[in-house]
Symmetry: C2
Subunit: 241 residues, 2 copies
DNA sequence: GCAAAAGTGTTCACATTACACCCATGG
DNA sequence: CCATGGGTGTAATGTGAACACTTTTGC
């Protein structure tokens, strides 16, 4: 952190009066969803001339009266109408030349939301749910940002039960497994998956069955948030390079 | 990411011409070391009047011609003389009011270095190695930044062999275990620790013994970087909330 | 009755934990 | 010879992976 003493003979002008050391800051939100058995991300079409026809993440400039978390929630709320949703900072990107209009540093956030719950909002905007695996080029350095957030998502989803943000209130184990497999891009054994998930103690058996499926219906579960709050912490110590 | 189209009727002025949306950005480096059986961090005395006598992390303002990683390496190099060292971005902090001189957003990096190798450099500066567990108040929000970086360190040290950055070229297993225990703030079983570390295949037995210890000397090892490069990849899939 | 997915247990290999005694060195 | 930490092995337990058949439903 710069202080007067750290740089005594360079400059004692208050920070806010040195425009050459000031930069634009933005937040970009990588909002993941799941639909049609695919992991998707919420994108907008960028029409800066430099990025004609390319996809862009949802973002905006940081405003003087808000902090980074606040800005990211504002973007999420403005685009999806959602308020109380998991939103987590991932990384800050500040390469020279990453933005054609000037120097912009951006902080990336990611979130997981249920696609079905927010269809209406989406159609009113120019937003699209885009299959993550099909994305090639994006505007700015957004492909790099997306890749970073996807890796964070893959890691996080195995450490914390954020995956339930993607689920309907009631879901079957098959649906849950499909989402894990889509995110991790891997196949899992069905029996072991059931065993493991039951062992977490986080599934509440609703005693209900799927409706309107062309096969034997599965049982429906919901996420037991209270159980999670109860068992939350135990600091693990184990080396595993 | 803001584009003209994202905010068409608000502003089409190029970003760099809207000073009200510009901010100072800094980087802060949380440089961990290990000495006298304690985890330490490199701090400087802050003498902003607002933070008289409080400790501060090493940081500086981002300059127009460098990116965030570059700035953090500049700070590290300027303070320690080190060039080729692990340095990783952790988190960006942008609370309103976190800096008394104005709005400053800061990106925190952490690093691990060997205390003995850089004693000379340190004495030339106003720097101190401070035991992490004894730190109470710090300047700015640096206590929060340090806590965040410490948690990241604790996690990372169990996932990647960065701990060897803290070691001398040659080290005994006891020294290695001491550092793990200091970082994780936990005791480990000596025999199991040995088994586990040998099992990683990352220790090169140098066939040498400790010198000048008042007890049976232990064998010396070094980190086998080539072995690590070889075995690096395997994407693990496992749920563990 | 056929297709499609649900539901269910066991075995094996491997990893983690807990635990105690003798050894080598310096003083 | 004493103090200090180095070095070693085994048994019990827990965890992850592999694997096949019967059941239920819609059509």
């Amino acid at each position: 952190m710069p202080t007067v003493r750290n740089r005594p003979n360079i400059n004692t002008t208050p920070l806010e009066l040195r425009p050459e050391f000031h930069f634009a800051i933005s937040v970009d939100c990588v909002i993941f969803g799941f639909d049609e058995d695919q992991l998707k991300v919420l994108l907008i079409n960028c029409d800066l001339p430099e990025f004609k026809g390319k996809w862009s993440l949802l973002g905006d400039l940081l405003r003087p009266d808000e902090d980074l978390d606040g800005a990211s929630y504002r973007v999420l709320r403005g685009r999806t109408g959602l308020e109380d949703v998991f939103l987590e900072q991932v990384h800050t990107f500040g390469h020279l030349g990453r933005h054609p209009a000037g120097r912009v540093i951006t902080t990336a956030y990611f979130s997981l939301i249920n696609v079905r719950d927010h269809q209406l909002k989406l159609l009113e905007n120019e937003l699209h749910w885009h299959p993550v695996r099909e994305i090639r080029e994006m505007a700015f350095d957004h492909r790099e940002i997306l890749d970073t957030c996807l890796r964070t998502l893959q890691k996080k989803v195995q450490e914390e039960p954020i995956i339930f943000n993607l689920m309907e209130e009631k879901f079957s184990l098959r649906e849950l497994q499909n989402i894990f497999e889509a995110i991790l891009d891997a196949k899992m054994d069905r029996r072991n998956f059931r065993k493991k998930l039951f062992a977490t103690g986080l599934l509440k058996d609703l005693g209900e069955l799927e409706q309107d499926v062309p096969h034997r219906p599965g049982r429906l579960y919901s996420f037991d948030a209270e159980a999670y709050a109860r068992i939350r912490k135990k600091t693990l110590v184990g080396i595993d390079f």
